[in-house]
């Protein structure tokens, strides 16, 4: 299996299932998990992460509903990264969320769009 890092925070306000789901999704979006790869069994995964099997089940169910994985009875849960439109849409959506925050903040502080463009150019080079 490709690289899958899951780090759970006990101080995060986000529920466990959401933290785990986001990290799997991010591994798929970054291409660290490839199309057709088998995810760990829910039992094994939950024991390793020390969370309830019911939590992992929920993660897999929701990822399946959103189209990122596919479960096959008796075989397991596989990554579906072949759906390019879904992957692109999700990337765009995640970035748009951050941009809306950024633009809202800029507007409240009276920062003009030109300045924002310049800042973005610099930061994009630097990071």
């Amino acid at each position: 299996m490709g690289r899958l890092n899951i780090v759970i925070s006990n101080t995060s306000e986000k529920p466990l299932y959401e933290q785990i789901k986001e990290q799997i999704k991010s591994a798929i979006l970054k291409g660290e998990l490839k199309n057709g790869e088998l995810l760990p069994s829910i039992r094994n995964f939950s024991t390793d992460l020390k969370v309830s099997i019911l939590t992992i089940r929920r993660v897999y169910d929701e990822l399946e509903e959103e189209g990122f994985v596919s479960s096959q009875a008796g075989k397991g849960t596989f990554v579906l990264a072949g759906n390019k439109d879904l992957i692109e849409d999700t990337k765009r959506m995640l970035i748009e969320e951050k941009m809306i925050e950024m633009v809202t903040l800029s507007k409240t502080m009276g920062v003009k769009i030109q300045n924002l463009h310049e800042m973005l150019d610099i930061i994009y080079e630097e990071v």
Partner: protein
Amino acid sequence: MNTVLDIRNVSKHFSDFTLANISLELKENCITGFLGKNGAGKTTLIKIILGLLHKDSGEIIFFSNRYKNIETIKNKIGVVLDDGYFYDNLNLKQMKNIIASTYKEWDETTYKNYLKKFRLNESQLISSLSKGMKMKYALALALSHGADLLIMDEPTSGLDPEIRKELIDILSEYVQEEGKSVFFSTHITSDLERCADEIVIINNGKIIEQSNKDDMIESYRMVKGTLDDLERISSKSIKILDQTKYGFTGITSDYEEIKQCIPKIILEKASLEDIFLAKTGEIENEDYI
């Protein structure tokens, strides 16, 4: 997920105690922790499940009625009881022979492997076993006849942390195999925090909560503040765990409203122990304020 044990409206009356209308469902491949204080009714319910006590009313369905024969069901259940029910003057081998003969699918190889793993010597007398060794021996017997459901009454009570961890690792390993499930009672919340998938809380003979462990922990917060804060949020449901003239600590499920009311109030993740105490404790200042 299949249901391995379905308990419906089970009641049992004693002169001084009542197990009232117990309903719960155990899901396959889960470790379900059965949490309650001493005297809450845990052992009584386990004895009823195992047929060691008769119930007054209600229904108990094993393995979704997959097996028609009561003997088959007995073979599919592994049992570890608190006081062992072993004969003190026999050695491990003699006791094992008695128990093995009552099961159809006794697996001597598995049994021998567990003995080795637990560093138990077959020629030792039962009476010479420490509490931890007795539990391990009982577990070795319970896991050596192809059981799909392991039912344990207070397996961790009175054991040191290292042996408790060892037991928990074995349970976690056991449920990795498809179709294996565990139900165990305890009053030690840290054992469940480490390995349980689902938690059932019993108090005064009634089930007061059953849910996914993570959901249960996430639906509460520990709230801390000054007594002035406490007054301002007195309409919210908080169970006070501790209160002095300097401030208070409590458990709440109304944390979103409390946060809106006092944005700077301290809200922290609650532990299962805090939640359990809040739900069952007879702490001073017990009333919901």
